[in-house]
Assembly symmetry: C2
Homo-oligomer: 252 residues x 2
């Protein structure tokens, strides 16, 4: 029987750690994977430092089915992801002739000088499987269970389309929810009872800020799992508990 | 001489990993710390699973000066942060009498039942230093170099105000930038030369999406460090390189 698969995401870049740029890639990757039965179980945000990248890659690729990285594959001095991934696998970071030609031609068409720095974008670790991407001349690549993508969200999304074609899929994971005007503490006992009755489902309880972009209600209860009828049953139990206490609630 | 201090942030919660909720805490924490000379060097997003929390806490608190956690300290079954942090320190998670009384009184005023579940919010690991927070009845706490805060952004921000009072400060870190209409590859060689000339400064190069919220320019160059006059010199060198090539650029 098919099961769900596990994944880690590594977001590489000083700018994400310092708060000067807000990550937009994790949520997109997680949602795209989830409908394919692959669940993100850990995410790390790490700086552009080789041994940090090597450590994260080595640890996470042994722990999870897949690892996805974003960032650090451009042409500047702080783009060291491919060098670091090569180091993690004990191979050289080598020029990919076909990619080199492709970028060179595109730069020529556009009249942009194909500098030594820009040529670094044509490198990938020896043995990597280059993943051609429609609409993007810079490809992502795969090496064993690690998939390497750009940090710029529009480019990352193009690469992910190609990456997804290379993945085994698991049992699809579904999400259903209740939005309710309830203090978490007032419904916590019933929530726990339902969680114990349906151990294969993950029930999460997320209190919302007053000006939340997600809901006008005070709390969101999320029911996540692979069996839709179990999810419905669990949600109905919590919904009835809200009604019993007189709390306003809607199913979403 | 004062130096900068290092920190890690652990964002705890399944909802962040699955992309159903977008983190808003990291950027705020990182910026508040940076002006106090404390730099976030790693962030992990992990699920509500005790041994994952224990592993992350144990590893990161030995590696960095400070660790800050958000999430998992509410009243529901998936709020296991305090239990897990107690386990990481090999102590019990115990009721904090003063906090208990405080929450009990507030619930009484508001006419909300102070359930057994809600009472869990008055627990913290034995030996923790409770950090009283203006405007929030639920306090954050400190245990050795680990600071524990709520996940809801409005509450986290209140707690952080109290937490900051407990921190040693380092040498303030400054950020200045150039926004430029340049292909990264065309300026990469000059950028690297400047980086080599000023090894104490971090120079980052961040290409922007067309509809970026950060800039109308194609690339942002960020100069980060503790010595403002060095930062200015490095920025001027890159600015002149942009001008030399005829690229439109502004200092920010």
């Amino acid at each position: 029987m098919k099961n769900t698969l596990s994944a880690a995401v590594i977001l590489i870049g000083n700018e994400l750690l310092s708060g000067s740029i807000q990550d937009k890639n994790l949520a997109h990757i997680a949602k795209e994977l989830e409908v394919r039965g692959i669940r993100v179980r850990e995410t790390r945000i790490i700086p552009d430092i080789e041994n940090e990248i090597v450590d994260a890659i080595t640890h996470l690729r042994n722990k999870f089915d897949y690892v996805f990285t974003t960032g650090g594959i451009g042409p500047t001095h702080d783009d060291i992801t491919s060098d670091s991934i090569a180091a993690a696998f004990g191979v050289e970071n080598v020029v990919q002739r076909h990619v080199f030609k492709q970028i060179e031609n595109r730069f020529k068409e556009k009249g942009i000088p194909f500098t030594k720095a820009a040529q670094r974008m044509a490198y990938a670790p020896q043995g990597a499987n280059i993943i051609e991407t429609k609409h993007s001349i810079i490809p992502g690549y795969q090496i064993e269970n690690v998939f390497v993508m750009a940090g710029v969200p529009s480019i990352m999304r193009l690469m992910l389309e190609g990456v997804i074609e290379c993945l085994e899929t698991g049992l699809q994971i579904h999400n259903i929810a209740i939005h309710a005007n309830v203090g978490e503490g007032e419904i916590a006992a019933e929530l726990e009872t339902v969680q114990l009755r349906y151990p294969d489902i993950d029930i999460g309880s997320y209190p919302q800020d007053k000006n939340s972009e997600f809901s006008d209600y005070r709390v969101i209860f999320v029911f996540k799992g692979t069996d839709l009828s179990e999810l419905e049953q669990a949600r109905n139990s919590v919904f009835r508990a809200c009604q019993k206490h007189g709390f306003e609630a809607i199913k979403v």
